[in-house]
Symmetry: C2
Subunit: 480 residues, 2 copies
C-alpha cells in the first residue's frame, strides 16, 4: 500500500508547525508570596508555608480596565455577551468552557436533542475572550476572594485527567462579577449524592441517558428475574419543580413513542414515578436513598433503576464561606438594588448565588434562568455606562451615577409535559390576572420561546434540526 507512505510523508510535512514563542509571555507574572492554607480552599487563612503564586497583576494605565467574571451560567454569560470589549478586557474563570441551556437539558437525556445543541462555547458568546490580548478564559475554580486587594484566587481544573497537577494563581480585577450559581439541595437526606443523579450539567444528562439505555438493554437479557426487571425499568424523579416535571414529560414521550417501538420486549415494564418531596404527592417524603431503593417516611420502600433528583438549589460551599454581606436566609451573597455588593468596592453579584440585602426591603428572586439572564443584561449595561464615564478602573466608579435600579418583571413560566403539550403561565404572580394556557398551543409557545433564547444561530439551527429529526425519525437510542 504505497499510498500510505506517500500520504504520511505529505501529511507530516504539512501539519508540523514549530514556531512557538513568537510573542513573549503575555502575562504580567506578578509572583508574590502569599500565606495560604490549601485545606480550606474558600477561606484565605494564614499558614506557615509560604506559597509562590503567579497570575495577572493589576492593570496598567495603558491597558483597558479588567472585568473578572466568576462563573459561566446564564447570568455570567449574558453579562459577558453584553460587555463592550472596546471598554473592558474580560477574564472569565469557570470550570466549564460553555454555557448550558438548562431548560433544554431534560430533552437531551432521552435523545430529543443532542448534547451539543444545548451547550454554547463561551468563545462564541463573547469572541473577545479568545481574540483580545488582555481577555481570557481560565478553566479553573475560584477558591477565594480578597476584596481588599481587588484580587481573586483560583485553582485549575484538570478533571481527573492526569495531564498536570492543579496549580493556583491569582487574578486582579478592576470590577468583579460573582455569578457562581447554586448547587442542588439534598435536605441532608442520606445517600442522595451517592445514588441519585442531578440534572444541572451536560454530564448529568449524559449519565442519565447512559443509565436509562443500559437498564433498558439489561432488562432484555436472559436470566433476569421479573422483580429485577421491574426495578431496573422504574424511573423515579424526586422534585416537582420545572426540571423534574419536564424530565418526567420527556421520559413519558420517550416511552410512548420510542420504547414501544425500539424495546418492544420490555415496553410493559417501564414506568415513571414523580415524587414531590414534602408535598406527599405520590406517596410521601423521602427519608433515605439506598443503592437500589428509596425509603419513604412511612417506612415503605420504592425500588428504582434510575433516580433523578431535582428538588431545587442552594448556595455552594464557596458562596457560603465568602466574607461578604449575605441576603436574609439561605446564605446567598447580598446585593443592593443595583446588584452591587455593599461594604466592598467594585464587586457585583448576579444569578442564583445572589439575593437582595435586608435594607433594600426586596424579596430574594427565584433561582430561574429568566432572572439570571435579565440581571446579566442589566449589569452589562451598567458596567458599560460606568466604563464610558471613566469609572472602569478599580476604586474609580464611586462618583458615577448608578442610574435606574434593577427591576425584575416575570415574563411567565413554562414547562413542557410531553406529548406536544405544555403549560404556560403568563401571569406575573398566581394572584394576578393574565394568560394561562395548556396543551398544544402552549407546547408551540414553549418551543419557540426557548429557540429565541438560545444564543447563537448555530445552536438555534441545530435545535430546530434536532426537533424536526425527532419528529420524523424518532429519538436516537445509541448508547455512546
Amino acid at each position: 500500500m504505497s499510498w500510505f507512505r506517500n500520504l504520511s510523508r505529505f501529511s507530516a510535512i504539512n501539519v508540523s508547525r514549530r514556531q512557538p514563542g513568537v510573542n513573549a509571555d503575555p502575562f504580567l507574572l506578578s509572583s508574590f508570596n502569599f500565606f495560604s492554607s490549601n485545606s480550606n480552599p474558600a477561606a484565605v487563612k494564614p499558614s506557615l508555608e509560604p506559597v509562590q503564586y503567579s497570575g495577572m497583576g493589576p492593570t496598567k494605565p495603558h491597558e483597558k480596565p479588567r472585568v473578572v467574571v466568576l462563573g459561566s451560567g446564564w447570568a455570567g454569560c449574558r453579562l459577558m455577551k453584553g460587555l463592550d470589549p472596546e471598554i473592558y478586557d474580560i477574564v472569565c474563570v469557570s470550570p466549564r468552557n460553555h454555557m448550558v441551556f438548562t431548560p433544554l437539558l431534560a430533552s437531551t437525556c432521552v435523545g430529543t436533542l443532542e448534547f451539543r445543541s444545548v451547550a454554547e462555547p463561551i468563545a462564541r458568546i463573547q469572541p473577545a475572550i479568545s481574540r483580545e490580548p488582555g481577555s481570557y478564559f481560565f478553566l479553573a475554580n475560584c477558591t477565594g476572594i480578597s476584596a481588599d486587594k481587588h484580587m481573586v484566587h483560583c485553582e485549575t481544573v484538570t478533571d481527573g485527567e492526569q495531564t498536570l497537577d492543579p496549580w493556583s494563581f491569582t487574578v486582579s480585577y478592576d470590577k468583579l462579577v460573582i455569578a457562581l450559581g447554586a448547587v442542588p439541595t439534598t435536605f441532608g437526606i442520606h445517600g442522595v449524592k451517592e445514588h441519585a443523579i442531578f440534572l444541572r450539567e451536560v454530564h448529568h444528562a449524559q449519565e442519565i441517558r447512559r443509565k436509562l439505555l443500559l437498564n433498558l438493554m439489561l432488562s432484555d437479557v436472559p436470566g433476569i428475574s421479573e422483580e429485577e426487571k421491574q426495578r431496573l425499568l422504574h424511573c423515579v424523579v424526586v422534585g416537582g419543580g420545572p426540571t423534574g416535571v419536564e424530565f418526567s414529560g420527556e421520559l413519558s414521550d420517550f416511552i410512548m413513542r420510542d420504547v414501544h417501538q425500539r424495546y418492544a420486549h420490555v415496553k410493559d415494564y417501564i414506568r415513571v414515578t414523580l415524587i414531590e418531596s414534602g408535598v406527599r404527592l405520590v406517596r410521601g417524603t423521602v427519608k433515605d436513598v439506598q443503592d437500589q431503593k428509596i425509603i419513604l417516611n412511612d417506612g415503605s420502600e420504592v425500588p428504582y433503576g434510575l433516580l433523578v433528583w431535582s428538588t431545587g438549589v442552594g448556595p455552594s460551599p464557596l458562596v457560603h464561606s465568602l466574607d461578604l454581606p449575605k441576603a436574609p436566609g439561605g446564605g446567598r451573597i447580598g446585593v443592593d438594588e443595583w446588584l452591587c455588593v455593599p461594604s466592598v468596592q467594585d464587586v457585583f453579584s448576579i444569578g442564583d448565588c445572589s439575593g437582595f440585602v435586608e435594607s433594600t426591603g426586596r424579596q430574594t428572586l427565584p433561582a430561574l434562568a429568566q432572572v439570571a439572564e435579565r440581571q446579566g443584561k442589566y449589569l452589562a449595561n451598567q458596567l458599560n455606562r460606568i466604563g464610558k464615564a471613566g469609572g472602569g478602573r478599580a476604586k474609580s466608579g464611586k462618583d458615577i451615577d448608578f442610574g435606574e435600579p434593577f427591576v425584575y418583571k416575570h415574563l411567565g413560566s413554562m414547562a413542557s409535559v410531553g406529548s406536544y403539550k405544555a403549560l404556560v403561565d403568563l401571569r406575573q404572580s398566581k394572584e394576578a390576572k393574565g394568560l394561562s394556557l395548556a396543551g398544544f398551543i402552549s407546547w408551540f409557545i414553549w418551543r419557540s420561546a426557548y429557540l429565541t433564547r438560545v444564543v447563537s444561530w448555530r445552536n438555534r439551527f441545530y435545535v430546530a434540526i434536532n426537533w424536526a429529526t425527532t419528529l420524523v425519525f424518532g429519538r436516537d437510542i445509541s448508547r455512546i
Copy 2:
C-alpha cells in the same frame, strides 16, 4: 408558584404506568448446570463449582431458525441489515448497541462531526431485533463458543455502573456468525495502553476531544512554563495508516481554521507530529511510552500532551483462544471461500477477525471497513438462500449448494488529509493501472463516498448538516 403543583399532579398521573408483566417471560429459560471457570472467560474449562446458567435454548420446530451474530461492527451490522427476518430470528450479542462509522470517527475528535452522527443504533439497522418476539439484542460479551453444542456463552456488560453484577447466560444457535473484529496492536511497547489513546470507538474520540480542549485551555492559564505549554500542545500521532493520516489532517484543519480564531493566545504553540513507527518517517521507532513523553529507539525523547495510537489491529484475546481453525499467521479465525469455518458445522466468520485458511490458497484480506461490509452483504445473501432452501436449522444445511464463493474486489482507497484535500487511489493494487487523484476533487469524492455508506437517512442527513454547519460556523469547541 401554584402552577408547579398543578403541573406535578398532572404529570404524575399522566406518566405513571403500572401494568408490567402482561405477557409472560418470553425466554425459554433453559437452565442447566454447566462447569465453568470464571477466571479465564474465553476458555470453557471444567471447574469444581457448578454454575447455574439460564439462556435461550435450541429453537423449537414451530419457531424460525436462529442466527446468532457476535459483534456489531461493519461486518456484523451489514449482515444483520441483509438477513431476512421472515426466514430467521436474529440475536446479536455485542458490548455496543450501535455501529460506529469508523472512517468518520477522526472528524468527531475536532468537532467537524457530532459523535452521534457517526453512530447508528442496531435497532435502526435491523428493526426486527427490537420488534420480532424471537429476535434480540443482548448487551454482553461473548466469553466462549461450544461449537459441538451449537451454543455461545455470554456475560452481560455493566460498564462500571453498579446497577447490577454481571451475569452469565448462553444462547443456542442454528447458524453462528463470528464478527468480533480486531483490537489495536501495541507491538508489546511498554506504556501504550496506559498513556496513548486509540481511535476505534466513540468513547476514544470523546477522550481525545476532551484532552485536546483541556490542554488548549490549560496552556492559557497563568503560571504555566513555556516548556510545559509546548508539551501540552504537542499532539503526537503514531501510525501512518488511514486513521492516523485522517486524524492528523483533521487536527491540522482544526488548528488552521479554529484554533487560530478561538485560541489566539496559544495558536503559535500547537503542533502535530506524525510518527510512522517502523518506517522511521519522522524520527524513529517508538521504544517506550511514558506519562508525558515518548522514548524513541535512538534514545531521543518526544514530549507530548496528546498521544494517539493507530498502528493497526490484530485479533482479540478471545479470538486467539477459540478452539477453531486459524488463518496462516496472526491468529485470525480461518474460513473457506464461502466464509464458513471448516471442521465445525453452521459457523461462519467475517470481518477483521477472519482470514482464509491455507487450503484456499488465498491471501488474508486487509482489515478494512470495505472488506467487512462486502463480506457481511455476501453472507446475508448466502444465509437467506440457504434458509429459503430449507437449510436454516442447525445441522441441516449440508446438502444445499453453496453457490459462488466470496470474491473481494478492491474499490479504491481514500483518505482525507485536511484543508478540503483528499487522496483517492482507485487502482486495485499499487502495480495496476487506474485512477489516482489528489486535491479538492478527491476530497469531494471522499465525502460523497462516505455519505452513501452511512446507513440510515437520519445519519446521512445529520452528517451533511454537520459538514455544512462546520463550513459556515466553524467547529464546535465546547468541552462537554
